[in-house]
């Protein structure tokens, strides 16, 4: 089973992503901010992280930077989701260590195809 960790402080977003991904056969866990994501990662290996940017206690960029430097799986694929499609967001996401950047709102089919691609389901 391919495991995805959805990291977002908005519960509606977490629920939405969970439903879409579970219907597509993924196993989904949730975290409400970057810190909780790190707690989950310490516990469970994931095939993909889907990470929001603006979250309390720890933002998405800081979270991804910590994943990339501190592990436990520094190579885990990361998709970052930002509210604006501005170039600055994309650059910040990629320089923090994300593999891919998407702008909100995310269309279901786009989300699924990206997640399938990045989590290795297609490979």
């Amino acid at each position: 089973m391919t495991r995805v960790l959805v990291v977002d402080d908005a519960q509606t977003v977490r629920l939405y992503h969970r439903e879409l991904l579970e219907q597509d056969g993924f196993d989904v866990d949730e975290a409400v901010n970057g810190l909780e994501a790190l707690e989950r990662l310490a516990d469970t290996p994931y095939d993909l992280l889907l990470v929001d940017v603006n979250m309390p206690r720890m933002d998405g960029y800081t979270c991804v930077r910590r994943v990339r430097t501190d592990g436990p799986d520094i190579g885990v694929p990361v998709i970052m989701v930002t509210t604006e499609g501005a170039a600055g967001d994309r650059e910040q996401a990629l320089s923090a260590g994300a593999n891919l950047h998407m702008a909100k709102p995310v269309q279901p089919e786009v989300l699924l195809s990206r997640v399938r691609l990045m989590s290795g389901v297609l490979s």
Binding site: Q11, T12, L15, V53, N54, T83, K104, P108
Partner: protein
């Protein structure tokens, strides 16, 4: 016996007090100390001092150490007041997500001042700033929160601002928000997420569980 007791290990606070100047100027100068622990201590001891707000905010904007930022933001939260709010609002436009979110957390803790700036913030031309305004509302103890959020649903034409507002309404919404919620999907017909979020919020507000039992 491997367990040892050292009663002299911790000097009484009074003894330490004499070693380091405790006046405001001394502590403000210490905000520039090259050791993070000294900057953290100075921040902590400046908490509650309204005369140190500008110095703390200046230091916060320069500070790169995460622990020191944490301490400076906490000090500002403890002090509170108009000046803190005036200095933190511009940080919502910072490119630095950690600083932005830190400012939001402090503003959330100062509910009494929110009425003074919230309307303006929710009308900001920058949709990201409007989203941050909604983020402040998420944890704000203020009776107008549902009204502000309803206003967003009725007036804001940016899908992400409305989505953020719907999310907060899943927690704080009341019956007065239901009409505005139900009308929202029609304004964003191409966005299945909005329809989903609205259904979730409606369910939480009315307490009616959905048909499939989840």
């Amino acid at each position: 016996m491997p367990l040892i007791r050292r009663d002299d290990a911790a000097p009484a606070p009074g003894q330490e007090r004499r070693e380091i100047p405790r006046d405001r100027e001394g502590l403000i100068a210490q905000l520039d100390d090259k050791r993070p622990v000294a900057r953290r201590r100075a921040s902590r001891e400046l908490a509650g001092d309204a005369g140190a707000v500008d110095a703390l905010c200046d230091a916060l904007e320069r500070e790169q150490d995460e622990g020191c930022r944490h301490a400076m933001l906490t000090a500002l939260l403890v002090t509170g007041g108009q000046r803190v709010q005036e200095r933190l609002l511009p940080l919502l436009r910072s490119e630095d997500a950690a600083l932005r979110n830190g400012a939001i957390e402090v503003l959330q803790g100062m509910p009494k001042l929110a009425a003074g700036y919230m309307d303006e913030l929710l009308a900001d031309p920058d949709s990201d700033v409007r989203i941050f305004a909604v983020n402040i509302l998420e944890s704000l103890r203020h009776e107008r929160v549902p009204d502000w959020l309803r206003g967003v649903l009725e007036r804001d034409d940016h899908v992400n601002v409305c989505a953020a507002a719907v999310d907060v309404l899943t927690e704080v919404g009341d019956d007065h928000c239901l009409d505005a919620l139900r009308q929202l999907p029609a304004r964003f017909p191409g966005e299945p997420f909005i329809a989903f979020a609205v259904r979730t919020a409606e369910r939480r507000i009315t307490g009616e569980e959905r048909g499939d039992g989840r």
